[in-house]
C-alpha cells in the first residue's frame, strides 16, 4: 500500500467529518474517492496532503514527501505569472534537478503549449485546471491527490482532464476524488465510497460491481414472448421477470452461476426465438445508490 490510514478521525467542534477511516490505496492504482457533497472527501485528502490535522488515527504514506503532489478542485495561481512560469515554479519546488525541458513537455501534454507564454489572468477555468494538472505532474510524483478535478468543467474540459488522468496510469498512484460516478468508473480501478465521513466500501471497482449488485440479465426475444415469461417465472433460480417492451425482458437471478447453467436451456425449451441475451452490467451509480441509500 502506498497510503494507509488507521482509525482516521476528524472533528470540527461537535461535527464529525471523518469516522475511523481505514483507507488502503494500492501502489500504482487509480483510486476513486467517491461520495456525496459533504461526505468528507476533501477533508480526507487535506489530511493526507498535510494541509489539515487529524483528530485521531494514524497515516502511513510510503512515498517521499517531495514526490507527493496535490491538486485542489479549483486551482488558482498568481494572475501575473505566465502558465510556463507557474509550471516552472512547481518544477523547482518539487525537484530543481529536473530538466527545464520537462516543463515544456507537460505543458504540451496538457494542451497548453500555445498559451503558456500568456499570463494566467486570461486563462479559462478548463485551462487553469489543465495548468494545475501540468504543475502537479511536472515533478514526476509517485502519488497524486486530485480533488474533484473535473467537477467544474464543461464536457470538453472534463474529457481533457480525464484523459490526462488516464495517461498517469502506470506512472503514478492517483487518488481521485469526485462525485461524478461516471468519471470514477471510467478512469479508476479501485474505489472508496464515503458517506457522512464513513468509508462504506473500498476495493476494486470490478469487485464492487459484481459483489454488490443483484445479477440481472437482459433478454431480447422475437415476439410473442409470453411463453418465455411463464417459463422463466416458474424457474426456482429466477427472482423476477420484468418485461421492458414487447420484445425485451429483464430477468433477475439468484446467482450468475445458475443463470449461466440454466438460462439458455429454459429459453430453448420455450421455442421463443432469441435475438440476444447477456448480463446487464451494473453501474457504479447503481451500486453507489444501493450503498448510500
Amino acid at each position: 500500500m502506498i497510503v494507509s490510514t488507521r482509525g482516521l478521525r476528524k472533528e470540527y467542534g461537535s461535527t464529525v467529518a471523518l469516522r475511523d477511516v481505514d483507507l488502503r490505496v494500492p501502489v500504482g492504482s487509480v483510486y476513486g474517492l467517491v461520495g456525496p457533497n459533504g461526505a468528507g472527501k476533501t477533508t480526507l485528502l487535506g489530511i493526507l496532503a498535510g494541509l489539515r490535522s487529524a483528530t485521531a488515527g494514524t497515516i502511513e504514506i510510503n512515498a517521499d514527501r517531495t514526490r507527493v503532489a496535490v491538486l485542489p478542485d479549483t486551482p488558482q495561481f498568481e494572475p501575473w505569472l505566465t502558465g510556463r512560469e507557474v509550471v516552472d515554479l512547481a518544477r523547482t519546488l518539487a525537484d530543481p534537478t529536473i530538466a527545464e525541458s520537462r516543463v515544456d513537455e507537460v505543458l504540451e501534454q496538457a494542451g497548453l503549449a500555445d498559451a503558456c507564454r500568456r499570463t494566467v489572468a486570461g486563462y479559462s477555468r478548463g485551462m487553469l485546471q489543465r495548468l494545475g494538472v501540468a504543475s502537479t505532474v511536472v515533478g514526476d510524483p509517485v502519488l497524486l491527490m486530485l480533488d474533484e478535478p473535473s467537477s467544474a468543467l464543461d464536457p470538453a474540459g472534463r474529457r481533457e482532464v480525464l484523459d490526462l488522468v488516464a495517461r498517469l496510469r502506470g506512472e503514478a498512484t492517483v487518488i481521485f476524488s469526485s462525485h461524478i460516478l461516471g468519471d470514477v468508473q471510467e478512469v479508476c480501478d479501485s474505489v472508496g465510497i464515503l458517506r457522512e465521513g464513513e468509508l462504506l466500501f473500498q476495493g476494486r471497482i470490478s469487485d464492487l460491481l459484481v459483489g454488490s449488485a443483484v445479477p440481472d440479465y437482459r433478454l431480447r426475444l422475437r415476439p410473442p414472448i409470453d411463453a418465455a415469461i411463464s417459463a422463466l417465472g416458474a424457474a426456482g433460480w429466477v427472482r423476477s421477470v420484468e418485461p421492458l417492451s414487447a420484445e425485451e425482458l429483464r430477468v433477475s437471478v439468484d446467482s450468475v452461476a445458475n443463470a449461466e447453467k440454466y438460462l439458455a436451456g429454459v429459453l430453448a425449451a420455450t421455442g421463443v426465438p432469441i435475438v440476444s441475451f447477456g448480463p446487464a452490467a451494473a453501474t457504479l451509480e447503481q451500486v453507489f445508490l444501493e450503498l448510500t441509500s
Binding site: G46, A49, G50, L51, R52, S53, R65, V68, A69, V70, P72, T74, P75, Q76, F77, E78, W80, L81, E85, D88, L89, A90, T92, L93, A94, P96, S135, G139
Partner: protein
C-alpha cells in the same frame, strides 16, 4: 523560477514598487518644500490672514517628511507587505505552495525579505530625497545623526513587516491583515501616552529621523530599539507558528 524570483516579479509586475517608491519619494521631496515655504503657502491660501512662522530650521524639513511618511507611507507599506505575506488569502494558492515545501518558513522567508527590502529601499530613498532638498532649501543636517535616524527608521519598518507577517498568519485575507496591523500600530502611540512607556515602544523610533537632527541624543532611542528587536523576533516566531497551525 523560484520563490525569491516570484516575490521580485510580484513587486515588479503588479507595480507595487511604484506605489512604495512614489509615496516615499514624493513626501521626501514635498516635505522640506512645505517646511521652507509654509508661511508663503498659508498666506496665499489663508484669505488675507497674516500668520508669522519662525524661520524654518533644517530639522523641520525632515520632520515634515517623517510626519507624512509615517502615515500614508506606512499604510502603503503595510498594504504591499500584506499582499505578499497573506499567502493563504486564496486557499488554492496556499495549497500550491504549502504542498511543495518542507516548512512554511520556506514560503515566508523570501516574502519577508523582499517586502522589507522594498519598503526599506523606498523609505531610504525618500529620506535621502528629503535630506537633499532640506540641504538645498533650508540648510545642512548632521550626517551621523541623519544616518542614525534612517537606521532607526529601518528598524521600525522591519518591525512593521514582521507584524504584518504575524497578522497575515491569523487573518483570512489581505484586508484583515492590514486592519490588524493598523490597529496595533495605532494602539502603540496611545499606550505610549502612559508615563514613560512611550520611549520603550517601537513607535518611538518613528521620530528618530527628525528628532536626532534636531538635537536629540542617538542613545535616546536605544531602549525602543532593543524592544523592537525583541518584538521583531516575537512577531516572526508567531508568524511561523500560526502559519504552520493553519488548516486549509
Amino acid at each position: 523560477m523560484n520563490l525569491w524570483r516570484l516575490e521580485w516579479l510580484r513587486l515588479v509586475r503588479t507595480k507595487r514598487w511604484l506605489a512604495l517608491l512614489g509615496v516615499y519619494v514624493f513626501f521626501g521631496l514635498v516635505g522640506p518644500l512645505s517646511a521652507r515655504y509654509l508661511g508663503e503657502i498659508v498666506e496665499r491660501f489663508g484669505g488675507g490672514v497674516e500668520v508669522v512662522f519662525p524661520p524654518a530650521v533644517p530639522a523641520d524639513g525632515m520632520a515634515q517628511f517623517v510626519s507624512n511618511a509615517s502615515q500614508l507611507g506606512l499604510l502603503v507599506a503595510v498594504t504591499v507587505a500584506a499582499g505578499s505575506l497573506a499567502f493563504d488569502a486564496k486557499p488554492e494558492m496556499g495549497v500550491f505552495l504549502r504542498t511543495r515545501v518542507d516548512r512554511v518558513g520556506d514560503i515566508l522567508l523570501p516574502r519577508l525579505t523582499v517586502s522589507f527590502l522594498a519598503v526599506g529601499a523606498a523609505f531610504v530613498l525618500g529620506a535621502l530625497g528629503a535630506w537633499y532638498e532640506t540641504a538645498v532649501l533650508i540648510g545642512g543636517l548632521p550626517v551621523g545623526g541623519t544616518f542614525a535616524g534612517i537606521g532607526y527608521g529601518l528598524l521600525y519598518l522591519s518591525f512593521v513587516v514582521a507584524l504584518v507577517a504575524a497578522a497575515a498568519s491569523r487573518a483570512d485575507n489581505v484586508l484583515g491583515a492590514v486592519l490588524i496591523t493598523v490597529v496595533v500600530l495605532l494602539a502603540m502611540p496611545m499606550i505610549g501616552i502612559v508615563g514613560s512607556i512611550g520611549r520603550w515602544l517601537p513607535a518611538h523610533l518613528v521620530g528618530a529621523l527628525s528628532g536626532i537632527p534636531a538635537g536629540e541624543r542617538i542613545g535616546e532611542y536605544v531602549p525602543a530599539a532593543g524592544v523592537t528587536v525583541v518584538a521583531v523576533g516575537l512577531c516572526l516566531w508567531l508568524a511561523v507558528r500560526w502559519s504552520e497551525a493553519r488548516e486549509l
